[in-house]
């Protein structure tokens, strides 16, 4: 079994939508919505409900722990209250993460069998892509005074922040490959989740175009479309197997051809 997720939102529809999105990438993970609250007539209205959260915590637990993700202000407070009421067990954690990106990243990590702390870290690191892309200047308005020749060789294919794997250091033991995306949609959400999920379960450090190949969010920020070359570099016990898996997935067009 895997770590379960609870999605707390003021809106019943928003919580259900996040569950739908995350579940697509993680079919084996229990992802339970706790959205909205009930008015006196039993109609669901905007708000948060302790009762719904408590029920969801029970439903999401399968022995590996539960990660709770929330939307705005008072959803955080009610989730904190729920954890306090159940005695703040180490098996139930609250993520300080963006709801949509965090839920997707957590779901993929849970799907690949990660423990609760790792799943929480995956959710919380989902902040990073949008933060770093906001800080990265476009190449044109801010030309690099010392252009990296290796980076320019793939310009237009990669975000400015990404650098090819070979430049990452004198790592003679790394298993590397250059692979071209051939499926029309490129490395979109589902393939990114497939790669990150499978790689996450391996004993490998893997870099794909300068980002962590185990991070679904980082892979998606590459914006790698059809025809893009991915430079893969892996180290660790499962490095060969990991690169083989990436090659196989890419050459099969992630099953989309």
């Amino acid at each position: 079994m895997s770590v379960g997720l609870v999605i707390v939102s003021h809106s019943e529809k928003l919580a259900a939508g996040v569950v739908e999105l995350a579940a697509q990438m993680a079919p084996a993970v229990k992802i339970i919505a706790a959205g909205g609250t009930m008015d006196a007539a039993g109609e669901t209205v905007l708000g948060t409900s302790l009762e719904k959260i408590m029920d969801a915590l029970n439903a999401a637990e399968s022995g590996e722990g539960v990660l709770v993700l929330t939307d705005l202000g008072s959803a955080v407070m009610i989730a904190e209250s729920a954890l306090e009421i159940i005695g703040s067990p180490a098996t139930t954690l609250l993520a300080d993460a963006p709801l949509v990106e965090g839920a997707v990243a957590a779901a993929v990590a849970a799907q690949s069998g990660k423990d609760l702390d790792t799943v929480r870290r995956a959710a919380e690191e989902a902040w990073q892509p949008s933060m770093s892309s906001g800080q990265d200047p476009e190449p044109e308005p801010d030309p690099d005074p010392e252009p990296d020749p290796t980076a320019s060789a793939v310009s237009g294919l990669l975000p400015e922040k990404a650098s090819p794997a070979e430049t990452r250091g004198p790592d003679a033991d790394a298993v590397t490959a250059e692979l071209e995306l051939i499926n029309p949609m490129g490395l979109h959400a589902r393939p990114a989740a497939t790669l990150a999920g499978a790689l996450g379960a391996m004993d490998v450090e893997i870099d794909i175009n300068g980002v962590d190949g185990k991070s679904v969010m980082m892979l998606m920020t590459l914006g790698a479309g059809c025809g893009t070359t991915l430079c893969v570099s892996a180290t660790g016990a499962d490095a060969q197997q990991a690169v083989k898996l990436v090659r196989s997935e890419i050459e099969n067009g992630f099953g989309e051809l």
């Binding site: 003021h10 609250t37 009930m38 008015d39 006196a40 209205v45 905007l46 708000g47 948060t48 409900s49 302790l50 009762e51 719904k52 202000g73 008072s74 407070m77 009610i78 904190e80 209250s81 729920a82 306090e84 009421i85």
Partner: protein, 210 residues
């Protein structure tokens, strides 16, 4: 001189708070419309009505059980930020009094202090941020001073309620630094904080039930 408060008082307090919130529902939402999202009265009315309904079904046997019932119900029905804030207040008060059948002045002031500390922890607000804390903190200070001066439970609650009312009025000129009102910046000045106003109503209900 009343030396202790019992379960009957705790239930009467919650019923009185329900009536006060219902009576001021529109006024609380009008305060909230000025600087928030306009639903504080409706949300609290929904929450306390649910508390009153639960009390009719299932009479708690200790003051702590009554507080816990209120906490769980408010957190499940209020919907907005007031749910976890008042819910935590009552939950911490329940923990502070434990299984006691009777609350003496020291236990009572301890429960109020624990309630305030819970609101501070949950909302992460400080005095002067134009929040519930600006009613609760003077109320707790007044309650503890009254206990130190040898007041009985009725006088402790009367001091707390009066200080909460003064504290709520004193939020009028403040600039909000927490919650949705903080988005308005200086435009939040000149309006009473709805959470401080409802806190004063609820603490007044506690005094009137004694």
């Amino acid at each position: 001189m009343r030396t202790t408060l019992d379960t009957e008082w705790a239930i009467a307090w919650l019923q009185g708070a329900t009536e006060a919130v219902a009576e001021h529902r529109v006024a609380l939402s009008e305060l909230d419309r000025a600087i928030g999202d306009g639903d504080h009265g409706e949300n609290l009315d929904r929450g306390f009505s649910a508390v009153a309904a639960k009390l009719r079904l299932d009479a708690p046997e200790t003051p702590g059980a009554a507080f816990k019932l209120a906490a769980m119900t408010l957190m499940s029905t209020v919907g907005g930020a007031a749910g976890p804030l008042y819910g935590t207040a009552f939950l911490r008060a329940a923990t502070a009094v434990g299984d006691a059948m009777e609350l003496d002045p020291v236990l009572l002031a301890g429960a109020l202090t624990a309630a305030r500390d819970g609101v501070v922890l949950r909302g992460k607000a400080e005095p002067g941020d134009k929040t519930m804390i600006d009613a609760w903190t003077p109320a707790v200070d007044a309650a503890n001073s009254a206990v130190a001066a040898g007041a009985d439970v009725t006088a402790v609650l009367a001091a707390a309620a009066a200080a909460a009312e003064t504290g709520a009025v004193a939020t009028d000129p403040l600039i909000a630094r927490k919650g949705r009102a903080s988005y308005l910046g200086e435009r939040s000045a000149g309006h009473r904080d709805p959470g401080a106003a409802s806190s004063a109503l609820i603490l007044r209900a506690a005094a009137e039930a004694a």
